[in-house]
């Protein structure tokens, strides 16, 4: 190889970091939609405070449908994230917590305890927002760390 000087190496590494920041930016394009989905999930669970089978059906549908924009990366981003096994395990735990809040809402609905469903709604919003923030941070750390830990 033709040995390159340290300045050129530094410039190349800076360029690499710049490209990785672009990837983070692309993965983050749908953040407003994700936050809206988090809100929709909270409203869906809180609406279980209202009586009626149709309410329960619609709320469950809205909650499950909101999972897609909350967790998935849209094709319009043009990039597919590279998830490790650890990230997927954490994602699975986040989904468990989210479904836990739905269960809480459904229990309130079944037992006619509106406050339990409302509590579930608040919990669903908080867990969904935390999931969005955690996933964003996790992807960012994973993408950017590769050029800084060596």
């Amino acid at each position: 190889m033709d040995q390159i000087d340290p300045q050129t190496a530094q410039a190349a590494l800076a360029d690499i970091r710049h490209q990785r920041e672009f990837v983070v930016e692309r993965l983050d394009t749908m953040r407003p939609l994700r936050m809206s989905a988090a809100g929709a999930m909270g409203v869906a669970v809180a609406s279980l405070a209202l009586p009626g089978t149709i309410v329960a059906g619609v709320a469950t549908f809205v909650f499950t449908a909101s999972l897609l924009p909350l967790l998935a990366t849209p094709t319009s981003a043009g990039v597919v994230p590279r998830d490790g096994r650890r990230a997927l395990s954490q994602l699975y735990l986040a989904c468990m917590a989210l479904f836990g809040t739905l269960t809480l809402g459904l229990v309130g609905h079944q037992q006619h305890q509106a406050w339990v469903s409302l509590l579930g709604g608040v919990a669903a919003t908080v867990v969904a927002i935390l999931t969005v923030q955690w996933r964003r941070g996790s992807l960012r750390r994973q993408v950017l760390a590769e050029t800084t830990h060596r």
């Binding site: 033709d2 390159i4 190496a9 490209q19 043009g78 597919v80 590279r82 490790g84 994973q142 590769e146």
Partner: protein, 106 residues
């Protein structure tokens, strides 16, 4: 979302002349941090023409560093690009070599 091993893929620092060409280094940097990237996204990011990008991709593909997948979506062909295991190893080794040069020169 694609499941990828988290274990380091590098086999040691090794400067790679094929990767070090600026646009190829950028291509590899983007591909290494993702499971795959769409051709159009890469082209727009690097501000290259289709043919110029294809030329760089062909060089990487011939070296066994890159794999392409073609899909049909909304009546349009989309090309997805991803680094192979060999490509990741070569890229990681190259980045390590750059860090090495920087450490020795500092």
């Amino acid at each position: 979302m694609t499941l990828e091993p988290e274990a380091p893929t590098t086999s040691g620092p090794l400067f790679d002349d094929l990767i070090h060409v600026p646009n190829r280094l950028r291509i590899c940097a983007i591909l290494a941090s993702t499971a795959s990237v769409e051709f159009a996204t890469l082209r727009d990011r690097l501000q290259l023409s289709d043919s110029a990008l294809s030329k760089h991709l062909s060089a990487l593909e011939q070296a066994g560093y890159l794999q392409t997948t073609r899909t049909l979506r909304a009546s349009r062909h989309r090309v997805h690009l991803a680094l192979t295991t060999q490509g990741r190893q070569a890229y990681d080794g190259h980045v390590q070599a750059l860090h090495g040069i920087l450490a020795t020169g500092a």
